[in-house]
């Protein structure tokens, strides 16, 4: 747990704002990231104060264009065939981790395990060669992160 005790604050900085301005003409404007604080191996408070919706979170997790969690993880849902096994089985994840721990692992797993294969779902800086239509945008919005956190908490 390399990040234990670390406090970090990440928000859309100047670089992101400039990127945003440059692409405002041709692409939908990206929303600046909500600021958040990492305490221990968790983000204790919901991003932007949003309230997660379990059912929406499930849909986002399964959507191949959004969370696409099944590409790497098995989930305890009947009829979802052929999950990946690059990441751990998510069955029981809500019992193993707190909401805050789940939130950080979605936002930026690399804070917890630097060499992880898991994408950082709420991060726009420090990335290399991001495709034009994705630049300056996180994979999921703050609300979507909270929805997925809410759903994962129900997997006990």
């Amino acid at each position: 747990m390399g990040a234990r005790g670390m406090i970090a604050v990440r928000a859309a900085g100047l670089g992101s704002a400039l990127v945003l301005a440059a692409f405002a003409v041709t692409s939908a404007a990206a929303t600046p990231l909500e600021s958040f604080a990492v305490a221990g191996d968790a983000i204790g408070t919901p991003l932007g104060g949003a309230t997660g919706d379990v059912s929406r979170g499930r849909d986002i997790a399964l959507d191949r264009g959004k969370g696409n969690c099944l590409i790497c993880h098995r989930v305890p849902i009947e009829g979802e065939l052929f999950p990946g096994d690059v990441g751990p089985d998510l069955s029981g994840i809500g019992a193993r981790l707190t909401a805050g721990q789940i939130r950080l692992r979605l936002v930026d797993q690399s804070v917890v395990t630097p060499l992880t294969l898991m994408p950082s779902y709420y991060r726009v800086d420090g990335l290399r060669r991001v495709g034009d239509q994705f630049r300056g945008k996180p994979v999921l919005t703050a609300q979507e992160i909270e929805d997925v956190v809410a759903w994962l908490q129900t997997l006990r």
Partner: protein, 266 residues
């Protein structure tokens, strides 16, 4: 094209069904030793189709390539491929296994597609063919199929070493919105599943390959682009120095693996 009589079109029979093997003789780079043949990741059904000259859809392009190689040049063209390269079954055998290589004159890394286009421009007075056109895929497939069973033998010494190093760097660095490096999947997670797909060692002996997902033959560069799309990265151009460097890197780490193109892939 009207009235052009189609005569008997022979199936090109390629000697030896050497599927998924490595040359047995000689020393063996450590990397190649742990590389698993792409065919290990194929289902028995797809493997059987690949070995069957009628069911391997890539053979349609090999057949087309054989015809293009032999046919007289189109209007404006200077000469045919065959007028320089007689008896291609012997004279061109092994050529695909040695590419990409650094061109002595230009100092640039050139792969088989590039060599074909160099010939078109310099020797045939024909315009170059774009990547992923049936014509370029067909010529590439035909010439690669003439090296079936030959081990990959690309050079990474001398002038090629800088391209190799660049390829290795591109392979190792994270990219895209999903922030994933090639090596994280194709070295560190080989054999694991991404959905129903098994992550392979990225041994490129089967390219150009017929991917069921594409429903057509495609180049190795197109396959590299597919992974870049997957991690939501900025795409390199097909034929770019980046993809060429990656092609050299991949073919180097798979040295001694035997060419089995055109392969079938999911």
């Amino acid at each position: 094209m009207g009235g052009l009589k189609v005569l008997c079109i022979a199936i090109v029979l390629i000697n030896g069904q050497t599927i998924g093997t490595v040359a047995a003789d000689g020393p063996f780079p450590d990397e190649a030793r742990r590389m698993r043949s792409a065919n290990e990741f194929l289902s028995p059904a797809l493997r059987a189709e690949q070995a069957d000259p009628i069911r391997n859809r890539g053979m349609l392009w090999v057949e087309q390539g054989e015809r293009l190689f032999a046919q007289p040049p189109p209007p404006g063209g200077a000469q045919s491929c065959a007028s320089c390269h007689a008896s291609p079954e012997t004279s061109m055998r092994g050529v695909a296994a040695r590419l990409p290589a650094v061109d002595a004159e230009s100092g640039q890394l050139v792969n088989l597609e590039g060599r074909i286009n160099d010939c078109r421009i310099l020797r045939q007075s024909l315009p170059p063919l774009d990547y992923e056109t049936d014509e370029l895929l067909a010529l590439t497939a035909y010439l690669t199929a003439l090296s079936i069973g030959e081990p990959l033998t690309v050079s990474i010494d001398g002038p090629a070493s800088a391209f190799y190093a660049y390829g290795q760097q591109l392979w190792s660095e994270r990219q895209g919105q999903l922030n994933v490096a090639c090596t994280q999947c194709h070295d560190q997670s080989v054999g694991r599943k991404l959905r129903g797909d098994t992550i392979s060692s990225a041994v490129p002996t089967g390219y150009p390959a017929y991917r069921l997902e594409w429903q057509t033959l495609g180049s190795l560069h197109r396959r590299l682009r597919s992974c870049q799309l997957g991690v939501r990265a900025q795409l390199f151009e097909l034929g770019s120095r980046e993809y060429l460097a990656l092609e050299l890197y991949l073919k180097s780490r798979a040295r001694r693996h035997l060419i089995d193109a055109p392969a079938l892939r999911r």
